[in-house]
Structures are given as C-alpha cells and as structure tokens.
Symmetry: C2
Subunit: 607 residues, 2 copies
Amino acid sequence: MRMAMRGNEVGMNTVEKLQALREQMRRRKIAAYIVPTEDFHGSEYVGDYFKTREYLSGFTGSAGTLLVMQDRAFLWTDGRYFLQAEAQLSGSGIELMKSGEPDVPTLAAFLGKELKQGDVVGFDGRTVTGAFVKELKEKTAEKQVAFYGKRDLVDKIWEDRPPMSAEPVWELAVSYAGLTREEKLSKVREKMEEERADALLVTALDETAWLLNLRGDDVKHTPVFLAYMFITKRRAIVCAQAQAFSEEIKGELKKAGITLLPYESIEELVASLPAGQRLMADENKVSYRLLHVVSKGVEKINKPSPIALLKAVKTSREIDHIRSAHVKDGVAVTRFIYWLKTHVGKEEITEIGAAEKLEAFRCEAEGYLGPSFDPIVAYGPHGAIVHYSATLETDAVLQPKGLCLADTGGHYSEGTTDITRTIALGELTAREKRVYTLVLKGHLRLGAAKFVEGACGQNLDVLARQPLWEEGLDYNHGTGHGVGYLLSVHEGPQNFRWRMNDNVPCVPLEEGMVISNEPGLYLAGQFGVRHENLVLVRKGEKTNYGQFMYLEPLTMVPFDKDAIDVSLLRPSEKKMLNDYHTKVYETLAPHFTGEELVWLGEATAAV
Amino acid sequence: MRMAMRGNEVGMNTVEKLQALREQMRRRKIAAYIVPTEDFHGSEYVGDYFKTREYLSGFTGSAGTLLVMQDRAFLWTDGRYFLQAEAQLSGSGIELMKSGEPDVPTLAAFLGKELKQGDVVGFDGRTVTGAFVKELKEKTAEKQVAFYGKRDLVDKIWEDRPPMSAEPVWELAVSYAGLTREEKLSKVREKMEEERADALLVTALDETAWLLNLRGDDVKHTPVFLAYMFITKRRAIVCAQAQAFSEEIKGELKKAGITLLPYESIEELVASLPAGQRLMADENKVSYRLLHVVSKGVEKINKPSPIALLKAVKTSREIDHIRSAHVKDGVAVTRFIYWLKTHVGKEEITEIGAAEKLEAFRCEAEGYLGPSFDPIVAYGPHGAIVHYSATLETDAVLQPKGLCLADTGGHYSEGTTDITRTIALGELTAREKRVYTLVLKGHLRLGAAKFVEGACGQNLDVLARQPLWEEGLDYNHGTGHGVGYLLSVHEGPQNFRWRMNDNVPCVPLEEGMVISNEPGLYLAGQFGVRHENLVLVRKGEKTNYGQFMYLEPLTMVPFDKDAIDVSLLRPSEKKMLNDYHTKVYETLAPHFTGEELVWLGEATAAV
C-alpha cells in the first residue's frame, strides 16, 4: 500500500500516465500495449526499476498484467487481489479483469476478439517470454496481428524511474557450495553435449548465481544479481553490471575462464550465434526479445535449462550446511512459539509485531542474512487468506484463543529455510482441532513416504491430500516446492503437486533435492491451517524390487500438540509424529535451558 | 509352442527362410530388414496373416522384433520370453538380444552403431509406426541411412501364408452401444473441429469398431475387423474387406452417410488430401507408410485420436450392461472358486483343466461370447511368472495347498470382463498369507480412493503400492488398464500407473471410464499374488472444494478370506473389505442355492 501511495504522490496520476503512454503508442501505431509484472529474467520478486505495471496502474499486487488500448485499459489479476485491485484501480479508468472467473477471457483470448485486422500489439520484449508471445500469436492468428517488442514505452514517460539495482556481488565460498564454478561449468557442458547444443542461454538469475558461486542483492528476498549467461563449448560469458563486481571477483572469474561483458550486450551475443548452430533456450523462461534476435539458421532447442536440475540436487557440502541452517532456524522459531504462547493476551501483540519478534529471534543466529520471503503471520480469519500479508490497516491483535498461522523463512550462509506452523493461542473449537489434525495427518503421511526411485512429486501428492479428500475437503495450492541454497525460496523442477501441466514436466525426485511439504486447509472468514516442513530426498534401502527413497525432515520445530485431536490419529500416524518430535527434541535441546527447555520437553513428548 | 512347430514342419526351415529373405534384400540393396510383431493397426493380438516375425524366426512369443542383416540376424524380446526365445531360436543362427538387460542396445541404437554410411534399412512400412521410424532416423542420423518401406519382403518368400482374415462383421445394437454411429460420428467431428482438423485418420481397429457400432472376429480375443477410417468434415470412409459385410450392414452404413471402400484404398485416400489441409494422425499409432504418403503441404496434427477418449467414457446404456455382464461373470467365477476349493486334491485338476472348467462355467451364461484374453491359471511358482500361460509341457497338477492365481476374462454382449483372484487351495505358509494381505491392502486402498475431478491414474497409483513400498517390495507392471466395451480388454487412455512416459499422456479420470485395479507381488520360484477388480469412475459429492470422484467396483467375486492375515488389516481396510463382500453377497446370492449359497455367505461374512 505504501508503494502505491508513493506512485500517486509524485508527478502524474494514473489517468495522466495512461494518456502519456497512449501518445507514445500512437506515434508507433500501436493499438494495444501490454505491461506485465516481470523483470527481464522471470524473477518471482522484481526490483523497483521493473515495476512498470505498478507505476502505471497504481496496483501493487505481486501478480497482474496491464493492457492499455487507445480508449480503454484493463488489468488482469487473480483471486488473491480482487479486493485490493478494485480499491487501487478506483478512479483510474482501468477495468479489472478477474482471472479465473467464469466469462472472464484470458488476455490472449481478449485480444483475439478485440483487435482489428493488422493491428500492432506492443510490449517491452524483454518482459515477456517467447511462449507468451507464441500463445498470443495463436490466439490472434485470424487478425494477422504484428508484434512490436523493441521499445520500453513506459521508460519514455517515467520521469523519476528508480535506477536498475546494482548492489555488490559477493562470493559464496566453495566450502558452502561444494563445487567450484569450473566444476559446475563442466557439468553444464556435459548436459549441453547430451542435447548436442552449441550454446546455452541462461536468463534465470538464480541459475547464474548458482553456476558462478556468486550472490548479490538486486532482488528482494533473493540474493541474486542482474545477469545473463551465454555458454558455448569454449566460452562462458556473463553479461552483468560491471560496477557490481569487485576487482577480486573479476579476477576470479577470469581465472575460471569466464568473461564479464556489459548487461545489455546479451542481445548482440545471442544474435552473433552463426546459422547451423544449436541454441538451447527455454521458451517458457527466455524473453521474446532474446529469442527474436536469434539468426534464422540457428536451430533452437526448446527445453528447460539443465542448470535448474543440477542446482536442485544439493551437494553433500550444501546438505551438511542446510541441516545446520535448520537447527538455527528451528531454535528461533521454537523460541518464538514459546514466547507467543506464553505472552499472548498478557501484552498487546499484533501480527506485524509477532513477525518482528520472530525476525529478532532469527537475527540472534550467526550467519543469518534476512528473510527469504515476506513473512505471513495471520491470525484467525486472516489465516484463511493463503497469500495474506499483514498491513498497517489489517494488522490484527492476537487474542489468547484460536489459531495463528506463521509462514516465514530465512536466508543463512548455510542455506535457505521456509517453515509454517499453525499455533494454538489458547482455547480452540472442536472444528479447529479437527482441521488442524486432518491437515497434520496428510503432512505426516507424505513426510513418511517411502517410494521407488523414479517417482515424481505428482505420484506422491495424494498422500498429503487423502485425509482431506476423504472428507470432501481440499486446498487450492501445490503441496510443495523446491527450495534453493541461499537462492530463491521457490525453485524447480522438483515439487509435490497433483495437477499435470504440459508446461511443467514431471521430474523424478532425486537424492539431494530439498522440497517443502505444506498441505493446508482454509475456511474463509474463520481460520486457516498449514503445516510446512522442508524435507530432503534421500536414498534408502536397495532391494530386489528396486532402489527405495525416503524423505528426511530438515525443519526442526514442534507441531502444536495443544491443537491436535489425538483420537483422529492412526497408530502409524502417532508413531510418525512421536518419531519426529523425538528428533526435534534431540536436535534443539542442546540450545535451550531453563523454562524453555522444560517446555520443549513437554511440547515434544509422545502423544 | 504348437504354432512354432507348424512353421517348422512345412517348407523351409528358419535358416533357409533367412537366406531367401536375404536374396530379396540383396536385389533391393537393403542392408538390414526389420520384422516386428505388429499388424497394420498396432493391435495387441495379431491375426495369422501378420505373423511374419514368427514365421521367419520360429519364435512364438507375443513380443519381439527380428532384424536380418546379410551375415547375421538378431531378435529383441523382453524378460518374459528369454528362456522360450533361447529354446526356439536354437540352431536358427538368430542371436537373442535381451531387451532391458544392461549392455543390450535398443534396435535403433544397435543400427546406429552397426550400419555403414548410406545403408538402406527395409521393413514393411505398414507394420511400423511413424514414431518408430522417426526414432530410427534420429539414432542413425550420422550414417545418412535411407529407409525402404514399400514392400513386404516376407510375403515374397512365404508360400503357404494364411490369408488375411475376413470374418463376418456384425452389428452391435444401439440398445447395447447407447449411441448411434451418426451420433458418434458427430462427436468425433466436434473434436476434429476443436483441433481445426480437416481430416482424421483412424487405424486402431477398436476405434473403428466403436465408431461404427460394428464388431467382427479378425483378431484373437478381440471382436474387431480389419479396417481403416478416413473422416473429413463431410465424408466418412471405412476401408475394409467388402466380403466381410452383409448387404444389410452395407445398407445401414450407406444410410448413415458412411462409404465403404476396399481395405487397400486407404493409402490412396490419405495421399489425396490436398495441400493446405490439416490431417490429424497420431505418429505413435499410425503406420510409417500412411504418414509417408501424405502430401507435402498437408499439416499433420500429431495427437492421440479423439476416439480413444470418447470410447473410454462409457455411455449410461453401456454402463448398465457392463454391470449385468459382471454379475454373470461373478456367478461363473465364484462358482469356479467354490468348485476348485472343494475338489482340489480329491480329483486330478491341472492348470489347463481348471481354466477349461472356468470357461465351462462362463459358457452357462446367456450372452457369453468367449474369453477376452488367454486365461492365466498359474499354480505355486507359476503364479510368480507375470505372463504365464500354461502349456502341455508346463501344465501343473493343483495340490490342496498353496496359492493358485487365476487371471481370466470374458466377452459378453453386455461388455468385457477381466478378473484376477488368487485362491488358497489348502494350507498356506505365513509368508503366503502376509503377501496375499499386503497386496490386498493396496487393492482395497486404491479401490476406496476418493479424489478431486481432474486427477489422473498417475496421481493415485501410489495408493495401491504403498503397503508394498513400505516394505521394500514392488511389482513390475502397471496397477490398472482401461477396458473396452466388447472390444479390447486393454484400452487407453485411462490407467493406473506411476511411471511418467512422454509418449503416454496423463489423462484425468472421467465419469464412465472402466479401469482395472490389479496390484500384485511375485516371488520368483515360490508363488505370486494378484488381486484384480474392474472399477467404474463415478462422480461423488460436489463440495465447496470441488467435484469429488470415486470408484465403483464392477467385479463381483469374493476375495479368499482363507488367505488373509486379518491382523495386518487396519480397521478402515477391514471396513472396505466387508463393505465389498456385503455388496458381492447381495448381488450374487439370488443366483445361488444350496451348498453354494451357504458357502457364499461364509465367504463374504465380515472379518
């Protein structure tokens, strides 16, 4: 909310901005201009420089696409943001398109209907993917539409645009990464060889950061830096902002045979690939602009970047560190839960205040670098809003009753955490306990899964949902996402989900992958429950029937026994819970003393 | 075995046949000639006319590919047939390639290595799919190989080749099918419209039989007839053997606007599609030859035939009939189990004899048309051979102890059945009971699955495997396949399996689909257990969280309580078993009297 106000305080208002953009469009005969939320790298969070959609529309949500035509303008966003968007768009003349509602067309379908023959559709070609434009082309095929992606028209009207971030890049020691950048580069080239690729274009920021063993601070909550990479059999080029690199790092890159070129030179590099060569570039990730400059005779290999999978499989060095990070995080979160349960109702604690307290506990740990995403501390009915983030306006005072959902995480030098605990602040209704326990059953069952090597998250997701599905209940999000090592808290390709999506391949779970296990249930207007541990995929026994795999819990924080209806647990589920709590006690006890230690003992005692 | 002997009794022996084929190859400068097991339609069973691989090699297994080169010959087959192939190939000079064994290359990889620059590879282009040749091309890319698919060279040397089957085609009344052929055709054209297809090429025999509401007898165990279809917006052409059609059926087809042309004319038809049109043809199903004759300017839509999915979703009329068929089948199989358990050890019963007895019980039912596949009655260690089929040489005498696995099925006018029961013939070991019960747990859990609409078999398969996976056990086959209505006992696209296969899309389970639920466990040299019911996918309750689905059991035959270790069942599993048995008793009791009825009551009493 604060950001939107800033946009409205300075210079033009939304109506004036749209008029200025339309003037730019008219000069170039552009009938419709698309402004998505993306940066040039498909990042989950984008830096201020890239917030063109927010600047133009005043809408501050994390997802949404603005379409400006000469006489009308539209903003597509999803259910999380309908209320917020309605408020923020009020008076702007921008019409809200509620994605997913019946009778609301997609942007592509809308354009297919509204455009006239031969119209020109414009966008900053760096902010949309090749696949996006492909779909647009298909859906508007009958209108013979032309695409204009060469110019960022918003840049021409945005006077006080913040500069592109160029925070200092820093080295992640090999003692943390487990592999040198030379070793990683050679693994990438092996994968390129398998695809007979002459060149690989890397646009995802976390992939470049992983490959180079470098980190930065150009994107909120994600220690990455703005860069592209272009890798051939003999060359490895990183296109980035030179001022972000120290002389020492520049020297290290040079030693590793890696060339540093200006950020913008990526286009020229891609364009210079000669005909007859094979370029590996994922249409679902790489921008339209970069795919567009590729020479005609170059053969495109439209496959996911091999770096995603390499990065997902953690090295044994990384795994050792990740376990340490989770001990530190477990101490902080467990201390927070004890504090919250013992202080609620005795002093005023709000959602934001509680999040700040948890952050303070995390800050006590050595090596803590900051949150891995915006903390969610959601009390009562707020817990039923999946992507709730407390604002000054909504910030609720916690009462000594009901459930408080806390989904938070941190970056440590030793890795990235992400944990959700739903905490009983006092007396609970039978319904609250029942829902808490049903979700816990699913969490425990998935966590205890033993499976044959080769199985994917799509095969296992049902284990988490079954206790809910049996009662006609469900949650409308995936059960788990991959987690990077001091990178994005959301990474692919591993996941737990059941929906099959043509654009998201099913990837076997490999030893060394880290995934969240976070089923939930949300009762609108009442309360929400989510239980989240991060788990590590491990090899178990090998029998005549195959190599079996299991999941090791990384997160070390008790579940709130005050909220469990033990009568709903099967004997096998009680054992799963007790085994986990035993491990939590053994891991955390050395870090606690006095009252806290006594409480930890009770909180983890067998049910 | 008997067939192989026939091949060897008449005319040339295998060595002479291969020499004759090589002479044909030399005349056409063909370096390598491939003889697969297929007919021209990708059928599971093939008629005698198509048994070129068996004729040439003497190997009678149901899967295998022969490769003949000038100085050597090779046969690829899978683990089911290693012993049999070794015996049957002995003295032929054909080398056995054990598919799936380490260090055994695939046919494509082998050719990629062995061929010389510019070599010609030959095959009957009607017996291999477009996708097969595509893979061959990729794997031999460096050798610039040419493909010759115009001639069936085996035909030139096979003097006493059986004629192509042309058994009478017969009408399946609309009272069974639920939809007229006109209605089906219009549904197919709707699907073509969605893909903007101008023409659809249908090669799968069961798809044509389904669409035309016709049946035949050209393929063992499958009431279909040899035919292709070519469907455009205005025309529907069936290419088949005119002599198989009565004047009455010819008249009915004409009335429905369907043209009958000669079987061979399909090539000309496909070739006549003008440039600029869009042809829907599945490369994984349609033959190389037919794809090869398509004009250059025709755009190919390489997608599964829409008929597969339409056919898989049974009409309510079909469903009513299918339930009746399962009552008839349940009576026969239950009577068989009672007979077997009460007669074993008192008279000599062999595996083949038992299968004949079961067939006799089935024959008592009105509307029974014959087996839907070769019956498997496998006693003791034979039960551990997944694709066991008793022969005169292996036919074991059943003893009053241990387990007997019976996997059989029938075609009725009212539909097709497929059922496996594992039967205790007397005393069992604790291990036998344990395995029987573990497999039953999985069968029951999958059978009781409740899931959200949109879920695929790949999401649910784990429910059947979990009790085994937890103990490091597994079975090396899918958990379930679709079943046709008086068509192939194996049909797609629905299934229960966990492995993701790029060529087998994940298809949501829709109301009206029939699938088998058949987990198993096989202890080589000891015994095997499999439990199979057919289930019908149904819509259940619709809640705020979505449309929920469940599985209705169609198969109505008790599981053998003598083999269950009840102590291994959870309360919920006992309830699933008891609920099923109650339904079995209620359904079958009206058809039984006297001792059989008393036994049925005991066999289905609660555990």
